[in-house]
């Protein structure tokens, strides 16, 4: 046995400061995730975050339900209910028909009432 040894000091962890500090660093790094979680839990964003997930879930449920309703609705009902764009804008029927058919009618024809031939 080494005669310089007189007590339990060889077991003192700080005899090797680098190793001791490495242990501190490792422990700190291992705790970083939990510290972040705790810091976030007390931040102002936490209540918002608690609502985000349920709100998104509810929105997704509503979207699925709406899609289901649309899928089950008869196609004829959808067609009848849907107004044309031109009609919605208040365009005269003659212009609407002309536009939808792609006809290149003269302006005077469009301006005359139905059934009256232009010159």
């Amino acid at each position: 046995m080494n005669e310089r040894w007189r007590d339990l000091s060889p077991l003192d962890p700080e005899r090797d400061p680098e190793r001791w500090e490495a242990l501190m660093r490792r422990t700190r790094a291992a705790a970083a995730g939990e510290l972040s979680r705790r810091a976030f839990a007390v931040s102002p964003a936490a209540p918002l975050a608690r609502w985000v997930r349920p709100a998104l879930a509810m929105a997704a449920s509503l979207a699925v339900a709406a899609g289901g309703v649309l899928a089950l609705t008869p196609a004829s009902a959808q067609t009848a209910a849907a107004p044309g764009v031109a009609e919605a804008m208040g365009m005269p029927y003659a212009m609407t028909v002309s536009a939808e058919e792609g006809a290149n009618d003269a302006a005077d024809r469009l301006l005359l009432p139905d059934g009256v031939e232009g010159r």
């Binding site: 046995m1 080494n2 005669e3 040894w5 007189r6 007590d7 339990l8 000091s9 060889p10 077991l11 003192d12 962890p13 700080e14 005899r15 090797d16 190793r19 242990l23 501190m24 490792r26 422990t27 700190r28 291992a30 705790a31 970083a32 939990e34 510290l35 972040s36 979680r37 705790r38 810091a39 976030f40 839990a41 007390v42």
Partner: protein, 209 residues
Amino acid sequence: MLTIRAGEPPRPAPHDRSRRAPLHTETDARLIERARRGEGDAFDALMRRHMRAAYAVALAQTGDRDDAEDVCQDAFVTALQRLDEVRRPEAFVGWLLQIVRNRAHNLRRHQRVRSALPLDAAEEAPARARGPAREAEDAELRARLLEALENLTPTQREVVLLYDVQGWSHREIAAAVGTTEGAARVHLHHGRRALRALLGPTYREEDTP
């Protein structure tokens, strides 16, 4: 006699035997409160204040430096995760050391299972960088000390290491180990006597107050 109470910032021991963590002005209670809010500097202060004691207990339980360090790291992270369970912040260190014992127990049980496996199934422990000459000498001394400590009971090992390495008072040791001051003195006495018998005259027994 050291006048510190558990949970208060440590003050230097009159006999200057202690190798304590750096002084910190905040109590354990305050540090725990801040660590619960995720304040890293508070956790850091708790770690620096109590890591030596945790290491002493971990070493007493595992008998191996690498294992003791792993246990300490694991125990501090577990303590942080369960910090909301601390009802008596003034008894934090006792609570922490119980976590250390539990983790050490789990590690030993895991190692027993691993030791039953074929050699090629066990991973080799990573080698750590060490200074060659001093590390070799220290390693020899440590090996002999740890071998001798193995002959003590776990409680005797804890008491001897907390007293002789960590520099705690009997009162602090009694609170941490969960016994009385008188019983802590008896454990220290028996532990030292066993070490003296095992190590011979090179083991210098300090004056037991």
